[in-house]
């Protein structure tokens, strides 16, 4: 037995100490870590406490009002307290730790509140988010913890980096603080402040351009007041210009950099620019001076310069010349029209005028006067720049270099033609009258035929006036002629070209302007007739040959030196042959007398000129004739036998008295005159052609005028007369004893005072030529 064996000890639970730490202790450790981390975080992120002194604490809320930088909260008001002197408010701010380096003496604080004014609404965001304190950091200064807030927000330009410029204006107009600055109607900045200039002569408007737009401002950039509504132009051309609704209310500034000018450097900070009053002024393209005559009343301002209806400029102002000889208009030409300001450009004032040709320049009644300008392509190509022009009071003729055919027409009078009257070809307008001027012998009319139609004119072209209405009237009826309705009212010139193959004409060629189409188309011979007096004559007096019109007078002039009337006459195309050496012209007028009434038809048709062509075609043509004022005595009538009678007395013989043969009229007295020497009277008679054979050398002529009364003691009274007509008008009788050779024309007979008795018994059997 084992002595050592003792009673078994009671089984003891083998209690082991479990691991030192229960895993549950992890929880407090984790919690501790969280707390420590949070503590560290809060310490590390604790803000910087600064004091800012505000003038008043209105709108600042403790614990709520934030400090904003670029729209992000960087701090918060933690406390508000009155200052010791009770005049300001000390606001304690807790600023973001990251701001520590920016809190220097150059940093600025100001309170942003919503501001609603006519100038606009600023700080609108504060309506929702509440007021906030704006903070403008600046790292460059000395660090500090106490600040004084600005009483009001600083100008925009100082708040942000950007371009600050000064605009110098004559008047402030509607510009206000905060007025927008527009570029192409996009807001790129705003007016930050304005003030009178140092010399009180201008208003200096400070503007701020946002940095991203700063490059838009060049040194040649133009600024103008874009505020309000700009009404310009006239009734017919009303221009309403406004930038935006905002700018209407609060004004604004627009800027524009002329593209045509060479690249200028960008503007520098603080540059000074002029602020133009409006767009038109600002677009101050090119200054041009135009001298106008004194009588040209230019509108004060806004007189437009039009180039083919397009506005190219504006009269800025007008002033008298130094010597008071005219008016100088200072004109601003739009930049895009610079190329028009070259040598050769012409300016004239357009005024309203109301005339038969219509109302011209009517638009000026509504739109005011304007200045028209024109310049030819040639001059534009030549491109000789010019800045000083002579203006015209009225529209000038087209420039000689203008395209088209320039022609000169000479006429006796304008006869309804005026500037702008149409030039018609087959009643279609192909050109217009450019000008008219007086010359020594009529008027000179310049016309321009459009380039498209200039081939219609050549050497053979004939121009005539189609102005008004031409009434051709006579006993034979009348006709009315008019060009076009337009030409009727406005006057006009028509032309045609009979020969298309004729030679071409050059610019400046002279043509005659005929009064009417008929005249233009009479291609006959021109002769000159000389009259002692123009009584009863007129242009158009006809020239007749045997009752047939062979020509007419085209012109009547007084030759002062000679004291007679010189008339131009045009003979018909096929009637030129009447004008020969030896041709005679005389005037046929109505004759009213007791016994001799002649040419009564001329009372109605007017006087005419009778022509007797010179004998023989071979004689030389002549163009200058003297017209006898009466029917020539010594000329036969149209045909027949011309004879002369010699008498001691004329008796009652008159021109036109009949010549009787056996009491039958066979001829007439055509005239009489004193013979030379004046011992006798020559009477010219004309025997009709068919009775020529009745006259032989043996024929005897006696005066058959009057009544022969014989008294005889036994024979009683014997009264004899040839006829009643002869009794009244006088006459000449003749008798021939026997047939014989006909006498030559111009054969001279002696006229007996009374017939011998045997003459009366002669009765030869003379056959009458058929």
């Amino acid at each position: 037995m084992n002595q050592n064996t003792s009673a078994p000890e009671p089984a003891r639970a083998n209690i082991k100490k479990r691991g030192n730490l229960s895993p549950v202790w992890l929880l407090p450790v984790v919690a501790l870590l969280i707390v420590v981390w949070l503590a560290w975080k809060s310490v590390s992120e604790a803000g910087i406490v600064i004091d800012v002194q505000f003038q008043n604490g209105r709108g600042i809320k403790q614990g709520k009002t934030e400090v904003m930088l670029n729209g992000i909260a960087v701090g918060k008001v933690t406390d508000i307290a009155m200052s010791d002197d009770l005049k300001s408010v000390n606001v304690t701010l807790e600023m973001d730790r990251r701001m520590s380096s920016s809190l220097t003496d150059k940093s600025r604080f100001w309170l942003v509140r919503p501001q609603v004014s006519v100038a606009g609404i600023s700080g609108l965001d504060t309506l929702v988010s509440g007021n906030y304190i704006a903070f403008q950091p600046d790292d460059s200064g000395v660090k500090r913890r106490k600040f004084v807030a600005l009483p009001s927000p600083p100008p925009l330009g100082e708040q942000e980096e950007g371009l600050s410029l000064t605009l110098r204006a004559k008047e402030l107009s509607s510009i206000q603080n905060g007025s927008p600055v527009y570029y192409r109607r996009l807001k790129i900045g705003e007016v930050s402040s304005y003030n009178l200039s140092v010399d009180d002569q201008y208003v200096d408007v400070e503007i701020f351009i946002k940095p991203q737009f700063a490059h838009l401002v060049r040194r040649n950039t133009r600024f103008w007041n874009a505020g309000g509504v700009e009404l310009s132009g006239s009734l017919t051309n009303l221009k309403v210009r406004t930038q935006s609704i905002v700018s209407i209310v609060q004004g604004g500034v627009s800027l524009y950099t002329p593209e045509w000018e060479q690249e200028f450097p960008e503007a520098y900070q603080g540059d000074v620019f002029p602020l133009y009053r409006d767009y038109d002024e600002a677009e101050a393209g090119i200054a041009v001076e135009i001298d106008f005559p004194l009588d040209v009343a230019l509108g004060q301002e806004k007189t437009r310069i039009l180039f083919h209806g397009k506005e190219v400029g504006l009269v800025r102002d007008t002033q008298l010349k130094d010597d008071y000889s005219g008016i100088t208009a200072n004109v601003i030409i739009r930049p895009d029209a610079v190329n028009l300001m070259v040598k050769g450009a012409r300016f004239w004032l357009v005024k309203p005028s109301i005339g038969l040709r219509g109302v011209s320049g009517l638009e000026t009644l509504l739109g005011g006067r304007y200045i028209n300008m024109d310049v030819s392509n040639k001059d534009i190509r030549a491109a000789i720049p010019k800045r000083h022009f002579e203006g015209l009071a009225s529209e000038p003729p087209a420039s000689p270099s203008a395209p088209g055919l320039h022609l000169k027409l000479r006429a006796g009078s304008l006869a309804g033609i005026s500037h702008g009257s149409p030039v018609l070809f087959r009643k279609m307008q192909v050109g217009s009258v450019q000008s008219h001027e007086l010359t020594d012998d009529g008027v000179l009319i310049r016309i321009l035929v459009n380039p498209a139609y200039q081939h219609l004119v050549n050497d053979s072209s004939r121009f005539w006036n189609v102005s008004g209405i031409t009434l051709h009237g006579g006993l034979q009826g009348f006709s009315i002629k008019a060009g076009t309705l337009n030409s009727m009212l406005a006057g006009g010139i028509a032309f045609d070209t009979p020969d298309r193959t004729s030679g071409k004409v050059k610019n400046g060629t002279d043509f005659i302007l005929y009064d009417n189409s008929e005249k233009a188309h009479q291609f006959g011979q021109r002769i000159t007739l000389i009259f002692a007096t123009a009584e009863g004559l007129r242009v158009g007096t006809k020239i007749k040959y045997k009752g047939l019109v062979v020509g007419h007078l085209t012109d009547l002039k007084l030759d002062q030196q000679e004291g007679h009337i010189v008339a131009d006459a045009l003979l018909g195309e096929n009637s030129g042959w009447v004008a020969h050496e030896g041709s005679r012209f005389w005037l046929v007028r109505p004759k009213l007398g007791l016994t001799n009434t002649a040419n009564l038809e001329t009372l109605v048709t007017g006087q005419y000129i009778e022509v007797l062509p010179g004998s023989g075609q071979e004689t030389a043509a002549e163009t200058r004739f003297t017209v006898e004022m009466a029917v020539p005595d010594d000329l036969p009538l149209s045909n027949g036998l011309r004879l002369q009678l010699v008498s001691s007395q004329l008796g009652s013989i008159r021109r036109g008295n009949p010549i009787y043969y056996r009491e039958i009229p066979v001829g007439t007295v055509t005239g009489y005159r004193l013979a030379d020497p004046a011992s006798q009277v020559l009477i010219f008679i004309n025997i009709e052609e068919r009775y020529k054979s009745l006259v032989t050398r043996k024929s005897r002529f006696w005066n058959a005028s009057g009544i022969e009364v014989k008294f005889g003691l036994f024979s009683g009274a014997q009264i004899r007369t040839e006829s009643l007509e002869a009794l009244l008008a006088g006459g000449i009788s003749f008798a021939t004893p026997e047939p014989g050779e006909p006498v030559a024309p111009g054969y001279r007979f002696t006229m007996a005072e009374e017939p011998e008795s045997q003459w009366l018994r002669w009765a030869p059997a003379i056959s009458i030529s058929q």
Binding site: A31, L38, V128, S129
Partner: protein
């Protein structure tokens, strides 16, 4: 038979007579049984590591109570504007707006109760370590801690309700702050601490002291 109050103080514990209690179905089991014959739950004579766990959880809750009070509980924003509120600033705001009863309620639920719970837990744990005679008071305190625990979730309940309901975009939203999580953790850990604490330990402690 009538018992004398003095006799009541003299009790025997289940452990003293070799019995265990199933904490699930409250069946009295023999000392040897490891699992409850009725509900098959594990049966301990005393909860294991109860004190340690309670301490750890209490300590955790105490630590978390610091951020829960310092960090914002929630942010009520109207028109995107709002200040995060801590428990205390919220109470003060309610006071400023004249809602004193609500402020008191919130203050009680959010500040007083958690603090009392923590203090109570610590007190109980100390009592277990350094036994004292006033066991009745300790028992009452324990019961109160357990009862009060469910009410300390009031804040979290309100916050979760608000966060869920008030979501009107820019007009107004309520977002829970990190303090809410901390506070919720405090509540949970204190509840766990109270659950881990085995009140029977208080009896043991009292017994040690009695002889």
């Amino acid at each position: 038979m009538k018992t004398d109050p003095a006799e009541v103080r003299h009790w025997t514990t289940g452990a003293g007579v070799g019995l265990k209690l199933c904490l699930s179905c409250h069946k009295v089991c023999a000392e040897q049984t490891t699992h409850c014959p009725r509900c098959d739950a594990r049966v301990y004579q005393r909860r294991q590591n109860s004190i340690t766990r309670s301490w750890a959880l209490t300590l955790t809750a105490a630590l978390l109570y610091i951020p829960a009070n310092l960090l914002p509980m929630m942010t009520v924003s109207k028109f995107e504007e709002g200040q995060p509120q801590t428990i205390f600033s919220g109470v003060i705001e309610l006071m400023n707006q004249g809602m004193v009863p609500i402020a008191l309620l919130v203050f009680t639920a959010s500040v007083v109760v958690p603090v009392l719970k923590l203090l109570g837990m610590v007190w109980l744990l100390i009592c277990v370590r350094f036994p004292r005679a006033t066991m009745h008071r300790q028992q009452m305190l324990y019961r109160m801690i357990v009862w009060i625990g469910r009410w300390s979730m009031l804040d979290i309940f309100i916050i979760s309700l608000l966060v869920g309901l008030v979501q009107f975009g820019k007009l107004g939203t309520v977002t829970a702050g990190i303090g809410a999580y901390a506070f919720a953790s405090v509540v949970v850990t204190t509840m766990l601490a109270a659950m881990q604490f085995d009140p029977r330990l208080l009896w043991d402690a009292a017994e040690i002291k009695k002889p």
